[in-house]
Symmetry: C2
């Protein structure tokens, strides 16, 4: 879980996921196109995404295809974000209540 949060913390990596979301199964060079970064930098990001299990790769000849795995993102949503959904309103109204009694 920590790996996933860490992987998602970087904007370049999130944009790589976006690119794969737009078009799945891209090669490394395809993913590099138009990016202000060397191929090696992109490789490093992709390794981090792989280790977080957010991207799965598949070697085809001399090409390496990258596939998005949305499961960990879904799990973050289910296991983590949903926990804070409940009680959102109560938390806010509690805060409001506290702020309003500030000058007592």
């Amino acid at each position: 879980m920590d790996d996933v949060f860490k992987a998602l913390a970087d904007a370049s990596r999130r944009s790589l996921l976006d690119r794969l979301h737009a078009k799945n199964g891209q090669t490394l060079n395809e993913l590099c196109e138009g990016l202000a970064m060397t191929r090696q930098a992109v490789t490093k990001h992709l390794v981090i995404l792989e280790e977080a299990n957010l991207v799965t790769t598949y070697r085809h000849g001399r090409e390496k295809l990258h596939y998005l795995n949305p499961v960990p993102i879904h799990q973050i949503g289910e296991r983590w974000i949903k926990k804070f959904e409940r009680g959102k309103l109560t938390a806010l109204s509690e805060l409001k209540r506290q702020l309003e009694k500030r000058d007592e």
Copy 2:
């Protein structure tokens, strides 16, 4: 948005949010209890959470109360995670299809 992802990337900070979720409106010292970290380290984490707007503070005398603001977390869920929900099944079946034709 980047601030929020960055803030959530650290396990200590996520556990601080958990603590506030369990009991809202805690003081700094309260939040330090039982943590293997100095008060100053916790302060730094709380500053990052404040800057990401995940925590709101309110000074009461010599105490500083910390309140959880779940809105940014909710936004991550709505604006980011949901984007990858759609197409989850299609992405997986696409991957499966590709993997299966590997030995053609």
